[in-house]
């Protein structure tokens, strides 16, 4: 019985340790001023910030996993595998930060700040070149 209780206690302390280290890591993420702030942080009003934070959270938590495929095509990596593996890590960061920002969207505090998050540059419409010629 005593052994069982000590085992439970040790499990609780391990969980607490993991949670504390995760919190410390999140604090580290937000405390460094060198990071690029989340895109919604520049909004002036409370409604703009919370809407932006909600959008950022939804986009990154739902589609953050796409980053691994995007990163594999990045020319800064020597091979696609290197980009893909770094993309897995970046996807985890984006999805984690997206979930936290989604859960805390009414509080307009940029935490955790991992930069711009998932971003796809806007592509021009398919008949864009034809329209340009006509003009």
């Amino acid at each position: 019985m005593r052994n069982l209780m000590s085992l439970k206690a040790s499990k609780v302390t391990t969980k607490k340790k993991i949670a504390l280290s995760f919190l410390a890591f999140l604090l580290l993420l937000s405390s460094n001023p060198a990071f690029a702030a989340s895109p919604w942080a520049a909004e002036p009003s409370y409604v703009g910030k919370t809407t932006g934070k909600l959008e950022y959270g939804l986009k990154n938590s739902a589609f953050g996993w796409l980053q691994m495929f995007k990163e594999s095509k990045d020319p800064k990596y020597k091979t696609e595998w290197e980009g893909f593996c770094t993309g897995i890590a970046r996807s985890a960061f984006y999805m984690g930060s997206g979930l936290i920002q989604l859960m805390t969207f009414p509080i307009p505090v940029d935490f955790p700040d991992v930069g711009t998050g998932l971003y796809f540059p806007p592509t021009p419409p398919p008949n864009f070149a034809k329209r340009e010629k006509k003009v």
């Binding site: 280290s21 890591f25 580290l28 993420l29 460094n32 060198a34 990071f35 690029a36 020597k78 091979t79 595998w81 290197e82 593996c85 770094t86 993309g87 897995i88 890590a89 970046r90 985890a92 960061f93 991992v114 930069g115």
Partner: protein, 120 residues
């Protein structure tokens, strides 16, 4: 008592390997990890985790690549086994310690799939 001796031996080996890497420079070609060139803490953490994934997931490929690089197959197979161990262990350490942006250099810079010159 026995476990204490084993722990002490591992500690001494680890200290010799990581605190005095110059002693091993003649045996292994230690190279800094590519993520160390990143500037921000987030980018370094992402790079370190990704580098860990890459080495842990594909470290075993040295078993195939190294014998092809050497004309002496026995040397190549032994090198492949050793590289597999270093890549897998290094990858695991990098992935497990990704929030701490301190580099642990790997022999030959870990896994890389670009072409290498043939070793006689």
């Amino acid at each position: 008592m026995k476990s204490w001796k084993i722990q002490y031996t591992i500690l001494i080996l680890a200290c010799t390997l990581f605190l005095n890497p110059s002693g091993f420079a003649a045996i292994e070609n230690w190279q800094a990890s590519p993520w160390t060139q990143e500037k921000t803490y987030v980018e370094k953490s992402i790079g370190k985790l990704g580098f860990g994934f890459l080495n842990f997931a594909t470290g075993w490929s040295a078993l195939l690549f190294e014998p092809a690089r050497y004309s002496n197959k026995f040397t190549g197979i032994l090198k492949g086994i050793w590289r597999t161990v270093t890549n897998e262990a290094g990858g695991l350490i990098h992935a497990a310690t990704f929030p701490i942006p301190i580099d642990i250099p790997l022999p030959d810079g870990g896994v890389h799939f670009d072409e290498e010159p043939h070793v006689p």
